[in-house]
């Protein structure tokens, strides 16, 4: 794998360690021998639709669990087979694809039920801090989840994950359906969070978002990690884009 040469060195202290992970829905294999390691850093997993990105997310967070083989270790703890709520309590925050807000709850209630005490890394997200981060949400405290705009919904989904005081934030397509200006704002936010010591595992289709946030880029094809590369390598190499993502490069 020549592409792997460009990969950054895995960090010494592994936070998340995925080894030989395979997953099946019924008879269909969705993940095939996925292996990667990440430390307290941001990485992006890119790939086209249907390549198994969301399945990987589900496997890590333990929801709609596919039949999984292999191992996912988070800070030394085995996540495969662990119920979802315990995974979350270990410090895995989840921002799902499509936001999945609770239609019955208001903005404030979303944050209320998710809020938990300070986690091991000392980060202490409260509702107030989320409102500071996203003043828009503070204005819409009493609104129901469905009444928010796309961007506000995404803020809430992130805020909901933050108040659980995660050590790693797993985000599945956070840019989906958002206007460029909003996306830019989100990226600012992510960088801010990263500076606070939060690890981010970003699953993206939007190459711009992926490369903007993380230097390490894992490319998923056909349920496996096909290559690891860097943001700069990917951004500047149209041929790579075409091969990995099926994206037609710019004409100029």
């Amino acid at each position: 794998m020549s592409e792997a040469a460009a990969a950054t060195e895995p960090q010494a202290a592994a936070l998340l360690e995925v080894t030989g992970l395979s997953a099946y829905y019924g008879s269909a294999q969705a993940l095939e021998d996925v292996t990667f390691t990440m430390g307290r850093e941001s990485i992006a997993i890119v790939g086209r639709n249907g390549m198994g990105k969301t399945t990987l997310c589900n496997a890590i967070i333990g929801i709609s669990p596919p039949r999984a083989e292999g191992s996912i270790r988070f800070d030394g703890e085995e996540l495969v087979g662990m119920p979802s709520h315990r995974i979350a309590r270990l410090g895995v925050g989840y921002v799902p694809q499509g936001r999945r807000l609770f239609p019955s709850l208001t903005v404030d209630q979303h944050l209320k039920i998710a809020a938990r005490g300070a986690s091991a890394n000392g980060s202490s997200w409260t509702r107030e801090r989320v409102y500071e981060l996203f003043p828009r949400l503070a204005e819409r405290k009493g609104n129901g989840g469905a009444e928010l705009s796309g961007g506000e919904q995404q803020m809430l989904a992130i805020g909901r994950a933050l108040v659980t005081n995660p050590r790693i934030l797993v985000m599945d397509e956070p840019s989906e359906g958002l206007a460029p200006a909003v996306i830019e704002g989100l990226i600012e936010t992510f960088k801010h969070l990263e500076e606070e010591g939060l690890a981010i595992l970003l699953i993206e289709q939007n190459l711009g978002v992926a490369t903007a946030l993380a230097e390490r880029q894992l490319v998923m094809i056909g349920g496996g990690i096909a290559a690891e590369t860097t943001a700069s390598a990917l951004a500047d190499d149209p041929e790579l884009q075409r091969r990995y993502l099926g994206v037609e490069p710019l004409a100029h």
Partner: protein
């Protein structure tokens, strides 16, 4: 019924949307879309996830009703007509998540696609001659997408790629006048994508093709014209070359530019 035939046959609109919108609760998934696709055209609809492409498909084929606007296919206003009516007019489609019949064999699935359009849907008896003919057609359609070797298998036991093949075989078997494919290449291997591209390129010119596809490689090779959607609206329309050259498209679709420039 159809109006007097227009002078130029090939300009006959296959699809004509005017001001089509679809609302889910507070969310406007499709907003004021006008779209014209003419007979025999190959049209790709592009756009990032959540742009409203699939919803638009559902409104066109009748799975969802339009909240606003009108849908015309083959010159007839079908806004209020159910999906089955549109299917019988010659509109076939596939789904992003295959929506196949897990409990049926491949052959039966394709068979259903033919029966749905040909009639005899409610026939509770086997008419041997007819049966043979339809089965023959079903097998033939399976051959076109190279799935003949799995005719007797339950669809539920097939792989993802095979699901795609079956879905396309079903769409083709009905001998539609217009074919709508929703991300046919999603989840396919490189080789499978190659096969798909060839299949689409070799499609009868009489069949109008509307395609949602994330794989720009395929989309831009197959399509003659492209509609770019974002946030429920049509942003740009043009030829593949125009699209390639369009900066907006790149900003939107590739997200090029965040933090790098």
């Amino acid at each position: 019924m159809t109006e007097a035939a227009p002078a130029v046959e090939h300009a006959e609109p296959t699809l004509r949307l005017r001001g089509v919108g679809r609302r889910f609760g507070g969310l406007l998934a499709v907003d004021e879309v006008d779209l014209d696709v003419v007979h025999g055209e190959r049209r790709a609809i592009l756009g990032p996830n959540g742009a409203g492409k699939t919803t638009l498909f559902n409104v066109i084929c009748g799975d969802l009703s339009a909240s606003t606007g009108t849908v015309e296919i083959f010159g007839e206003d079908v806004t209020k007509k159910p999906a089955r009516y549109r299917a019988k007019m010659g509109l076939a489609r596939t789904y992003q998540q295959s929506r196949l019949f897990d409990g049926l064999t491949v052959e039966d699935s394709i068979y259903l696609a033919i029966v749905g359009v040909e009639g005899g849907r409610l026939r509770p008896v086997l008419v041997p001659g007819k049966e043979r003919e339809i089965r023959e057609r079903a097998r033939e359609a399976a051959g076109r997408v190279a799935i003949s070797h799995k005719l007797g298998e339950m669809v539920g036991s097939l792989s993802h790629g095979e699901h795609r093949q079956v879905a396309i075989a079903m769409a083709l078997a009905a001998e539609p006048k217009a074919l709508m494919l929703d991300e046919p290449a999603s989840g396919l291997s490189r080789g499978e994508r190659q096969l798909l591209t060839e299949l689409l390129l070799g499609l009868d010119r009489d069949i109008t093709l509307i395609l949602i596809e994330h794989d720009m490689d395929i989309a831009l090779r197959v399509a003659e014209s492209v509609t770019m959607m974002h946030d429920g609206r049509v942003i740009v329309e043009g030829t593949p070359d125009e699209i390639r050259a369009n900066e907006t498209v790149h900003d939107l679709y590739l997200g090029r530019g965040y933090g790098h420039e």
